[in-house]
């Protein structure tokens, strides 16, 4: 009887957005009198940081810093329609709507600035630090603060924009399955190292090395949080979780966090996150949706590592100590 070590690999891809489309989201952007920007949505932040990433997308588009952007969501009396926060769609779909709205608002802002500076609007650019300047002649500039004031109180212009992003519906061809299920795909490859106690069947995940390709990482710290959380969730799914531990009996399922098994902080594997960025052709600044994909490759990687360690295949999730012990027993009997 011994602790036996093994390693396994898995590689996956994942579609961004609602399968087969029919997948719209809208955004509205407007400036306050002093050149702050409001983004109005009905989208839901689940705790993953949707509001922050939308602020950065709007800020990048307009050419201001993200702290000047406020996200107003999710009130159905004020926010325009969003399909919802699911299917790894938030950053991609809503982000594209925000870019469109912010681009329209920026155009009005530049037009007002052009009138104030008495130059051609096509010659203007934002400097990313709160000013609008003439390309190649940055000494000719006006602050966004002053531009917004002029728009409100002098020029009678609304610095605002509307954004809509829709992936149209695709209907699968019934006999061949020809269809357009998604626009872009994220990718991952995970290598898991495990130790299996062949006396108890207990598995501990020593380390997971996750390589994720997610399009552009719009905010790497939030990407990190989501990918680490996802990796933990994948390990939990592989080894611990079921609502029906005595299936086919439906009795005895966990009803709280004491009974429903998940790994605690002490069970967290050493987790490495490496991010590759191949910009998607249709995402906001090349982003894709990594939210769901990041919890998937750990499951087969752990399963394959267990086989590598003890030579038994458990093809039923979760891979519990009981299932491993039964398989080891069958292996010895064979």
């Amino acid at each position: 009887m011994a602790i036996r070590r093994g390693r396994g690999v898995a590689a996956v891809n994942y579609p961004t957005g609602m399968n087969l489309g029919g997948d719209p989201s809208q955004a509205l952007v407007h400036s306050t009198p002093t050149g702050n920007f409001m983004v109005t949505l009905s989208s839901v932040d689940l705790g993953q940081g949707l509001k922050q990433v939308m602020a950065q997308i709007c800020a990048e588009t307009i050419g201001v810093s993200a702290d000047l952007v406020t996200i107003d969501t999710a009130d159905t009396d004020t926010g325009p329609h969003c399909m919802g926060t699911f299917a790894s769609r938030g950053t991609h779909r809503i982000g594209n709507a925000v870019i469109q709205a912010a681009t329209e608002a920026k155009q009005v802002m530049l037009e007002v600035a052009a009138e104030e500076l008495e130059v051609n609007v096509a010659d203007l650019e934002t400097d990313g630090a709160g000013n609008i300047q003439v390309k190649g002649a940055p000494q000719m500039s006006i602050s966004i603060f002053d531009t917004a004031l002029a728009a409100h109180f002098k020029r009678g212009r609304s610095i605002s924009g509307r954004g809509m992003f829709l992936i149209p519906r695709s209907y699968p061809e019934t006999e061949t399955g020809a269809m357009k299920p998604s626009t872009c795909y994220a990718h991952a490859c995970t290598v898991a190292d495990v130790e299996v106690d062949d006396e108890t069947g207990e598995v501990s995940v020593v380390s997971v090395k996750n390589v994720f390709e997610i399009g552009r990482a719009l905010n790497p710290r939030m990407v990190e949080q989501q990918l680490i959380g996802g990796s933990w969730m994948g390990i939990s799914h592989a080894l611990y979780e079921t609502t029906e531990p005595y299936y086919p009996s439906r009795d005895g399922g966990g009803i709280d966090f004491n009974e429903y098994l998940m790994p605690g902080p002490g069970d967290l594997a050493e987790t490495e996150i490496i991010v590759l960025e191949r910009p998607s052709s249709d995402g906001p600044f090349g982003a894709k949706g990594p939210g769901e994909m990041c919890a998937n490759p750990q499951i087969p990687a752990v399963a394959n590592a267990i086989f590598d360690a003890v030579g038994v295949r458990i093809d039923t999730l979760p891979i519990t100590p009981e299932r491993i012990l039964r398989a080891l027993k069958a292996q010895q009997a064979a």
């Binding site: 690999v9 590689a11 996956v12 891809n13 994942y14 579609p15 087969l20 839901v44 932040d45 705790g47 950065q56 702290d67 999710a74 009130d75 159905t76 926010g79 329609h81 969003c82 699911f86 519906r169 061949t176 020809a178 269809m179 357009k180 299920p181 991952a188 490859c189 290598v191 390589v211 390709e213 719009l218 710290r221 990190e224 680490i228 979780e241 609502t243 299936y247 086919p248 439906r250 966990g254 009803i255 429903y260 987790t271 996150i273 490496i274 991010v275 590759l276 960025e277 191949r278 600044f285 769901e292 490759p297 499951i299 087969p300 399963a303 394959n304 295949r313 039923t316 999730l317 979760p318």
Partner: protein, 455 residues
């Protein structure tokens, strides 16, 4: 702990943006970690009622009678709701994207189809009063045979779980399952050096959000109702509520957007319609919040799945043919499952280029808790099955599992089984980086490959 491997795809990326790429702290984080963020349940309203659901103790039963007379006499009880109070009691949420039929009851009328199905809603001044009154509701059931296994459910003569479907599977426009057909899978098998057919299973799992599903519905006095909710989809929930309550959308005002974790578990529209109905019928604010027990055993889990994969592979590592039959256990009602099973069909054969592919995916009804969306919907268990299968195939032909994946990895321009050309592939580069990071050596030729395709 994160490392951006910037050397990959640098030629396709413009890295001189100002705000994009900054690891800025989320503006809502200080509120979250100091307990100042307001979630829906932090609101309190004068005269607020609490809703407690009376649920079926049986997996499958006919309802002979419902007697609420004792419960109505309990102190603090304001109102008791049954199916008779719900204007459009039989619904399905995907009807909004024209995926029917309506197959689920807001409150059970004649039958219950899973243990935990909602039958009677009790409204009282406190949670305790509501729970005590709920215990006094008397429901007479005639227990019916139940089926908990997809294979059993699909056998002729199995008890019909849901009469709205007529069969124990969802009927697509393509028939009893969604199909993908590409190349000639039988020819592929006949030419293959090895055939491997394996079956994979999974159990339902819980989303386990920190914050349980719930909402507070408030009558505004002007015939409008404000619903503070943690739904993942505001208008999806509002529009379904509008259908169920036969109430025009302009009467409904949903406020949300701050949620303590969803993971797909908060897209089912299970609390808002009944809470708003209760607010309408009592004229009082109504709170309906799942207990942790309800969150774990009543709210939809991820579906149990069964996946059969048959592969034909050559000794040199090329996958010639892949046939997949996927079964998604929807439980008693559709919710999002017909969509999930279909998403699976589009996902196979995984991120590999296989010339001959045959996919059938089924959405099956059983008397288990209705399953629905969850992070990785339609894909997570498919990836488990596919990637364990890939490991088995590699070992079968005596090849390194990572090198075996390089040989079959899809690249830009490759035609997928569902007839879309691959674009933006990056599997090869992920595996190259994993090989280095994990010190998993592969032959030099694989490190020289590119997702850009043959150059």
């Amino acid at each position: 702990m994160i490392r951006l491997a910037k050397q990959y795809f640098a030629d396709q990326r413009d890295d001189d943006l100002n705000q994009i790429g900054l690891g800025l702290q989320r503006s809502d984080v200080p509120g979250h970690v100091t307990g100042k963020t307001a979630y829906f349940a932090d609101r309190n309203f004068p005269r607020m009622l609490h809703l407690k659901m009376v649920r079926s103790p049986h997996h499958h039963a006919r309802i002979r009678s419902i007697d609420t007379s004792e419960a109505e006499k309990q102190p603090g009880v304001a109102r008791i709701l049954t199916h008779k109070d719900v204007p459009h009691n039989v619904y399905t949420i995907l009807i909004l994207i024209q995926v029917g039929p309506e197959d689920e009851q807001v409150l059970a009328a004649d039958k219950v189809r899973w243990k935990g199905e909602a039958v009677v809603a009790v409204l009282a001044d406190s949670e305790r009063a509501a729970s005590e009154a709920a215990a006094k509701v008397k429901i007479d059931y005639e227990v019916l045979p139940a089926v908990f296994d997809m294979d059993e459910a699909l056998k002729p003569g199995a008890p019909i779980v849901n009469e709205h479907h007529g069969n124990n599977y969802y009927t697509y426009d393509s028939g009893s399952h969604r199909k993908v057909r590409f190349g000639d899978v039988e020819k592929g098998f006949s030419e293959a050096d090895h055939i491997l057919e394996q079956t994979y299973f999974s159990s339902p799992i819980e989303h386990a959000p920190t914050e349980t599903t719930g909402c507070i519905a408030v009558p505004e006095g002007n015939d409008r109702f404000t619903c503070y909710t943690n739904t993942q989809a505001m208008f999806f929930t509002l529009d379904n509520t509008s259908i169920i309550l036969q109430m025009p959308g302009h009467k409904l005002h949903f406020v949300g957007g701050t949620v303590g974790g969803g993971f797909g578990g908060k897209v089912d529209v299970t609390v808002e319609p009944i809470a708003i109905l209760a607010a309408k019928l009592t004229g009082r604010p109504v709170s309906f919040i799942y207990s942790r027990q309800e969150e774990m055993q009543i709210s939809s889990p991820r579906a149990a799945e069964k996946i059969v994969i048959k592969d034909g592979v050559m000794k040199d590592g090329r996958l010639l043919a892949r046939q997949v039959t996927g079964y998604t256990d929807a439980g008693a009602y559709s919710r999002h499952s017909p969509y999930g099973a279909q998403k699976g069909a589009a996902h196979y054969p995984g991120p590999y280029t296989v010339p001959n592919v045959w996919i059938d995916t089924y959405c099956v009804y059983t008397n288990r808790t209705p399953s629905s969306a969850m992070r990785g919907f339609g894909v997570t268990i498919a990836d488990f099955a596919l990637e364990v299968q890939m490991d088995k195939l590699a070992r079968l032909i005596g090849m390194d599992p990572l090198e075996f994946r390089f040989i079959n990895a899809y690249r830009d321009g490759d035609m997928k089984a569902h007839r879309q050309k691959t674009e933006g592939a990056a599997l090869i580069e992920c595996m190259q980086e994993a090989s280095k990071a994990a010190d998993w050596p592969v032959a030099e030729k694989y490190l020289k490959m590119s997702s850009y395709g043959e150059v």
